[in-house]
């Protein structure tokens, strides 16, 4: 098939895969380059211990993120967002805000392009801010790293999800009740689960979907 004949969506998947796997290889070249350039090879025991400590959890969360965020971000947004990262704290809320702003729905052709534009702009702005920050790291460190500001940056997620929560709950009040109540009860009763909270995104989603399905069948959601 010629590129010209490809639909926009086919093209997105085609180019998305090339970029994504290509970038995956490029990313692996960074530690490879460290090994070759400095002739410094990883310590086998440390490497295995470190990987075992984080990989099972991170790979589980990564899988959940793909299943949950791909339908929200759309194809183009996902191929880019899963490379540029910071999904939960940045790309996903940013996309939700952009979709809400123009009244586009995820999964529609309009939602697809708006999602891609939001993720792309957010990625470019983030990379640029961090780049400038790294250039200015010497004068910036004492300001951003000061103990007086620490409480503010410790609370970035509650500050983000509070505002975003109001925006989304306002639109889906009935759908939101069951998952929010069950998650608050869960984490209050079993606080040890909170650090691995991302694992519970699909649990909350299933609860939300089941409750919504029931209400939809009963005709409570018009």
């Amino acid at each position: 098939m010629k590129f010209r004949d490809m639909s926009y969506d086919d093209g997105t998947h085609f180019w998305g895969r090339i970029w994504m796997w290509g970038m995956g290889i490029v990313l692996l070249m960074f530690p490879t380059a460290i090994c070759l350039y400095f002739n410094a090879w990883p310590e086998a025991s440390g490497f295995l211990k470190g990987l075992l400590a984080i990989a099972p959890m991170f790979w589980a969360v990564g899988t959940i993120e793909v299943l949950t965020y791909v339908p929200m971000l759309g194809a183009g947004g996902s191929y880019l967002g899963f490379i540029t990262g910071n999904l939960t704290n940045l790309k996903v809320p940013c996309t939700i805000t952009a979709l809400n702003k123009v009244g586009a729905k995820p999964g529609t052709p309009e939602g697809e392009v708006v999602g891609t534009i939001a993720v792309a702009v957010s990625s470019i702005v983030t990379t640029a801010i961090i780049f400038i920050g790294v250039l200015l790291i010497v004068p910036l460190t004492p300001i951003l790293d000061s103990p007086a500001l620490k409480p503010a940056f410790d609370q970035i997620l509650p500050a983000l999800f509070g505002g975003l929560g109001v925006a989304l709950i306002g639109q889906n009040l009935k759908v939101s009740i069951a998952p929010i109540l069950s998650m608050v009860i869960l984490f209050v009763c079993v606080p040890s689960l909170a650090p691995s909270g991302a694992i519970f995104v699909p649990v909350a989603a299933v609860i939300a979907i089941a409750a919504a399905r029931l209400m939809y069948k009963k005709g409570w959601l018009k």
Binding site: A33, C94, I117
Partner: protein, 248 residues
């Protein structure tokens, strides 16, 4: 090759810089394609510009928090590795944990800034941090097409239910994170700090909503979320201080 090792070696800066240039190229590629497609779909330029503007404004505060993550990790790991890891795939929450686990595995810790990392320790940490976050890179290309067409079929069968399903998915994500905020309330008053900050953010957002709806102040729309976020973060400082003072 055997060059003298330093966590801030110019070689590492150059390597991180090249990878970040490629990431920017990828973002530009997708942006241009989506923009052209949007024009084909007949979406107005004004609407697209408002998407660009609101996304850029929204990004600023979280980007600064990521920068703080780079600074925190750079004391032990040097600048290039955290810079790369947090700009590409990495997320603030994972990278700090990954770096700590990897540093622990090679017999040191991120907080121990008095000893320098050896080249071999650094190489181990870089490998662990890179392999730890590869799940999304491998899986997204494999399953996203099937996943999206599944969602699409469902939405075509029953449009209204498809919409509700997507809202439920969003609410699921938000609920898990709202729930986590309550994870420390059992620890006493300090554990309530995140809850107070969340409520502050909610109140500011509601005030913005009233200003937009009742007083028709349209321009606030773009700033409502960043304002509630910055406002709540700023108020987190006195909230934390008051709580700590109350406990004595």
């Amino acid at each position: 090759m055997n060059h003298e090792f330093s966590v801030n070696s110019p070689f590492l800066f150059a390597a991180a810089g090249i990878i970040l240039a490629l990431v920017m190229a990828q973002a530009a590629f997708f942006l241009i394609r989506a923009w052209r497609q949007a024009k084909k779909l007949g979406i107005d330029t004004a609407k697209l510009k408002s998407v660009v503007k609101s996304s850029a404004i929204f990004t600023i505060v979280p980007a600064f928090s990521i920068l703080i993550g780079v600074i925190a990790l750079s004391k032990k790991l040097g600048v290039p590795l955290p810079w790369l890891r947090l700009s590409v795939i990495g997320a603030l929450t994972y990278e700090t944990a990954a770096a700590e686990a990897a540093a622990g595995a090679v017999g040191t810790s991120i907080g121990d800034t008095s000893t320098l990392l050896t080249a071999s320790q650094f190489s181990t940490i870089a490998w662990v941090m890179t392999l730890g976050i590869m799940a999304g890179v491998i899986l997204t290309p494999l399953i996203s097409r099937r996943l999206l067409s599944g969602v699409d079929k469902l939405e075509k069968r029953d449009t209204r239910w498809g919409e509700i399903l997507m809202s439920a998915l969003f609410m699921g994500m938000i609920s898990a994170f709202l729930g986590m905020i309550f994870g420390k309330v059992g620890e006493g008053l300090t554990g309530w700090i995140p809850v107070f900050v969340m409520l502050t953010s909610m109140v500011i957002m509601l005030i913005c909503a009233v200003l937009i709806k009742k007083f028709k102040i349209k321009w606030i729309e773009d700033y409502a979320l960043p304002v509630s976020m910055i406002g709540a973060m700023a108020l987190a400082i006195p909230i934390t201080n008051v709580v700590n003072a109350a406990i004595g």
